[in-house]
């Protein structure tokens, strides 16, 4: 069975690792009460992770355009193929939307992102206290949608591996 390219496989698992880290850190840091140095550190790390996810997502999309992914196995029925395509599109949208919403949210909060503490990323809007709560909510809802989509993605992969036994998962394994 045709596998994904090595580049696509590396980018996929790197994205997975970064998203899980950023998501976990997001939950942990927002649970810390008050103001502590650790909390501020986690916020910075969370933002750096998010920006990295966004950059890799852009690279992945370009790579995907140039390197067509392997086709669905012939054993998959039409609705499953459609569902798989739909889910992948949704995941791609979220991989962009989640970091972008976080980025806009932090700009509205008046805290620009200084990537790895080294250089400041573009500030295209000033602090906006009115918009801030809405952006926070959007970032949260998008994240929870992503968590659900990732769970479905993982379950589908496991179904292919252990129930259908059609080798779909192996195409993406390192």
């Amino acid at each position: 069975m045709q596998r994904y390219t090595t580049t696509a496989i590396i980018l996929h698992w790197l994205t997975a690792l970064l998203i899980i880290s950023a998501f976990t850190l997001g939950l942990v840091m927002t649970d810390i009460p008050g103001l502590t140095p650790a909390k501020l550190k986690y916020f910075s790390w969370h933002k750096w992770l998010g920006v990295t996810v966004l950059a890799i997502a852009a690279i992945r999309l370009l790579w995907r355009k140039a390197n067509v992914p392997p086709p669905h196995p012939a054993s998959m029925v039409a609705w499953q193929k459609k569902a798989a395509d739909g889910m992948h599109i949704l995941l791609y949208i979220l991989i962009f939307a989640v970091p972008i919403s976080g980025y806009v949210y932090t700009l509205a909060a008046g805290v620009p992102v200084v990537y790895l503490g080294l250089f400041q990323l573009p500030v295209f809007m000033g602090p906006n206290p009115e918009l801030k709560p809405l952006l926070k909510e959007i970032h949260y809802v998008l994240n929870m949608t992503m968590a659900a989509a990732v769970a479905a993605h993982v379950l589908a992969a496991l179904k292919h591996q252990f129930i259908d036994r059609d080798g779909v998962l192996k195409r993406m394994l390192p």
């Binding site: 103001l35 140095p37 501020l40 910075s44 008046g110 805290v111 200084v114 080294l118 602090p127």
Partner: protein, 184 residues
């Protein structure tokens, strides 16, 4: 009749003399601002003080006779989040309960070229007083004046950020106080 006239004239002159000798200006706090800018993990953050008063005794003809007093309510700090504002008013930072006001009282103001003054005085934050000198620019428009100044300080001099917050890799020691006072 003549005498009264003279008295009136003299008192009028006296009044105008007093007016040129010292003009106590009233700051328009709605048009004025005081902020502190610092870096948190290299991220520039601007905190604004919402409540402050500025009394400026300014005479453009002889600036050296000028005086200035600024009082800032430390609990009025706004770093962009109500929850964090409360944290920053706590003991480790401003300790606003014990030190509700940060003050600056000038000891000398000297002319330093057109529209420029050099201000020296005592800056008192969190019970720590230090002598500071900073340049101040002044613009006059009729009877209205605007004063702009930038004063770099080090937060640890005033114990702003105690305990684990002494770590300057988290919050830099350098803080820039910026103020803009519109007065008339």
């Amino acid at each position: 009749m003549k005498l009264t006239h003279k008295v009136a004239l003299a008192s009028l002159m006296g009044l105008s003399f007093a007016a040129t000798a010292a003009t106590l200006l009233k700051a328009d706090t709605a048009k004025s601002s005081v902020s502190a800018t610092f870096k948190q993990m290299n991220v520039p953050v601007e905190a604004k003080f919402k409540k402050f008063t500025a009394a400026i005794d300014y005479n453009p003809a002889s600036p050296d006779a000028s005086k200035a007093t600024v009082e800032i309510e430390t609990a009025s700090i706004d770093i962009g989040d109500p929850e964090y504002n409360k944290e920053v008013a706590k003991k480790e930072w401003f300790n606003a309960a014990q030190f509700p006001k940060a003050t600056f009282v000038s000891s000398s103001i000297k002319a330093a070229g057109a529209g420029k003054l050099t201000v020296t005085g005592k800056l008192n934050i969190k019970g720590k007083a230090t002598d500071v000198t900073f340049p101040l620019s002044v613009k006059a428009d009729g009877g209205k004046y605007t004063f702009d100044g930038v004063l770099p300080i080090k937060r640890l001099t005033y114990n702003i950020g105690e305990g684990e917050w002494k770590d300057t890799s988290m919050v830099a020691d350098e803080v820039t106080i910026k103020f803009h006072v519109a007065a008339q």
